[in-house]
């Protein structure tokens, strides 16, 4: 485990790390980008989840809503991950010591797996593709799981801001 700490220490001290951490403007700009990009990534994914649980556009096929929003969700996540990585870079050694960070990473992995499972398994079921109502319960569960997971990720992220640096 100390090798991870060493790596994090080295990461934080090289390249972009110190540039961001010590800059008066770069840090709030990068961190602000990370936060606002969540409205694109997490926000639009939660709207697709609301479709999955039947609370949003219930008469439009799930596949149509997913296809329509997917490119924006993916673009949003790209921006969120890139900005998030730079934020992490500037505080790596400090933040990995917080259990909140481990939790956040685990939740992100869980959210990703949930999305992948939906795309590859649930979304391919004939009832879903044919938009037969009522949709299988797994669709609703996938939506609820996704909403919960990404909300928890956001809360963890917000609480990490209080980790002393």
């Amino acid at each position: 485990m100390s090798t991870i700490a060493d790596l994090a220490e080295r990461l934080q001290d090289t390249g972009l790390g110190p540039v961001i951490a010590e800059s008066r403007y770069l840090w709030p700009i990068i961190e602000g980008t990370h936060l606002l990009s969540l409205s694109v990534s997490a926000g639009l994914i939660i709207l697709t989840d609301l479709r999955l649980i039947g609370a949003f556009l219930p008469r439009v096929p799930v596949t149509v809503v997913l296809r329509a929003l997917r490119p924006y969700v993916l673009a949003g996540f790209t921006l969120t991950f890139l900005s998030g990585f730079v934020v992490f870079w500037s505080e790596a050694a400090v933040v990995i010591e917080s259990p909140l960070w481990t939790l956040k990473l685990l939740l992100i992995a869980l959210g990703g797996l949930n999305a992948l499972y939906f795309e590859l398994v649930i979304g391919k079921r004939p009832e879903v593709l044919a938009n037969r109502t009522p949709l299988p319960r797994s669709v609703r569960y996938a939506g609820l799981a996704s909403m919960t997971i990404w909300t928890l990720v956001i809360i963890c992220g917000r609480l990490l801001a209080y980790v002393p640096r």
């Binding site: 008066r24 403007y25 709030p28 961190e31 602000g32 936060l35 606002l36 969540l38 409205s39 694109v40 997490a42 926000g43 639009l44 939660i46 709207l47 609301l50 609370a55 949003f56 556009l57 008469r59 439009v60 149509v64 809503v65 329509a68 929003l69 924006y72 909300t151 956001i154 809360i155 917000r158 609480l159 209080y162």
Partner: protein, 158 residues
């Protein structure tokens, strides 16, 4: 002390304000989380409605249908953000009142709400709104509401 200072001081010394600022850090943290969640709700709802108005998503579905849930989500987000924001303000009124970024944020908020009610929502509800006006309204709305987010971020840095 000026009249403004007197008012801010009396807010600050009120029992309610003490409840917020002197209590557990968890209260402020919770208020900040609610504030951020409200902001993200309104921004993503606005984004979806904007994309639809620009014809960039769900083009086959009527605007009024697409906008139904996002409109409610938008105003719920605004409410959560304003209520949590008010409570945080009451906890440290002078700190926020004399912060330039905060003042800008409130100005932007007033402009954004006005624009939303006077232009964006009527255009979204119209049968065939002029596309140029729609594009202008979307651009202004996005600029103002994301601008509020940026100004809020700047509060801790000016």
């Amino acid at each position: 002390m000026s009249r403004a200072d007197n008012i801010l001081a009396s807010i600050d010394h009120s029992t309610f304000a003490r409840l917020i600022s002197k209590s557990n850090h968890l209260v402020i943290a919770t208020l900040q989380i609610v504030h951020v969640v409200g902001l993200l709700m309104l921004l993503s709802a606005l984004l979806l409605m904007s994309l639809r108005l620009l014809g960039a998503t769900l083009e086959q579905t009527p605007v009024s249908q697409v906008a139904r849930l996002p409109t409610r989500m938008f105003w719920l987000g605004v409410t959560l953000a304003i209520v949590s924001g008010l409570l945080m303000f009451i906890g440290s009124p002078a700190h926020y009142f004399y912060n330039r970024a905060f003042d800008l944020k409130i100005l932007l908020l007033l402009a954004a709400v006005t624009l939303q009610l006077a232009l964006f929502q009527p255009l979204a509800a119209a049968d065939s709104p002029p596309p140029g006006l729609v594009r202008l309204s979307v651009a202004l709305s996005l600029l103002l509401w994301f601008g509020i987010g940026v100004a809020g971020r700047a509060i801790g840095f000016v």
